[in-house]
Symmetry: C2
Subunit: 138 residues, 2 copies
DNA sequence: CGGTATCCACAGGGATACTG
DNA sequence: CAGTATCCCTGTGGATACCG
């Protein structure tokens, strides 16, 4: 999502180019988490229980060490995930959902349900659209 | 969301770098719509009733003509929105949610509810985190 | 083990101009 | 009115290397 909440104009700008909360108002914050590639997958995995860094990395195939670190930190900042560090050698870090995080996981699960029940219809619609409009860039 | 569903590697690649549907499986498709800047705003507006191109543009402040066009087309392709063109002069185009689209709007509304009830907690958590970690890039 | 730091490719999306 | 065509800047996130 390039340019999210950013302005292109130099700096000598006064008004916020984005609407001051039309229907939005806070929803964006949640949507941004849902939108990024990994947050939801991490939450879904953590909904199953406490996980260590390495465990998360294996549970969510394809995530890089960097993105796991970045995403987890974001979730911790938002208060959805709790991080516990054991200063042992070698170190150990546990991640687990907070109460808010579990609530969020519930909301996500509802959405996942919607996805599952409508994915076929969506796929069909796309195929249909694509055959009807063979050109197009996409 | 740069690099979404894309590979950086040249072309001589065999296996899909992304998991063949671990827990994901179709959810991504929905999440991608939720993730982009405008889809949800458009759906929310259309949930109120049929809208013309221009009406949508005014209802969703900040959206460019191009992004309205692009986003609407995506929603039509996914079968969430229906487009009716009246070949009058000047032309007129109506956009309205399909049955699937209304169902989707419902799911989004649920999410919006979650957002509203938790936005304060999230904001508080962020403030707390930020004061506790004054440095950091963000 | 559990991260950071750095570098960079690339798709998203804004601005602007033009068209049926 | 309702788009399309271009151009270009931007943040996201992948790869890689290094650290306590």
């Amino acid at each position: 999502m390039a340019g999210t909440r950013t302005r292109t104009t130099p700096a000598t700008e006064a008004a916020d180019p984005y609407a001051p909360c039309e229907d939005d108002c806070g929803i964006r914050d949640v949507l941004d988490r849902l939108g990024d590639r990994w947050s939801v997958l991490l939450v879904v995995e953590l909904a199953k229980g406490t996980r260590r860094f390495r465990e998360l990395q294996h549970a969510v195939p394809g995530i890089s060490q960097r993105m796991l670190s970045v995403t987890a930190k974001r979730l911790v900042r938002d208060g959805l995930v709790e991080r516990t560090v054991y200063p042992t050698i070698p170190p150990r870090t546990d991640y687990r959902l907070t109460a808010t995080g579990r609530s969020f996981a519930g909301a996500v699960a509802a959405l996942a349900d919607w996805s599952r029940t409508h994915k076929d219809a969506i796929a069909a619609s796309r195929d249909d659209f694509d055959t009807r409009h063979p050109d197009e860039v996409r």
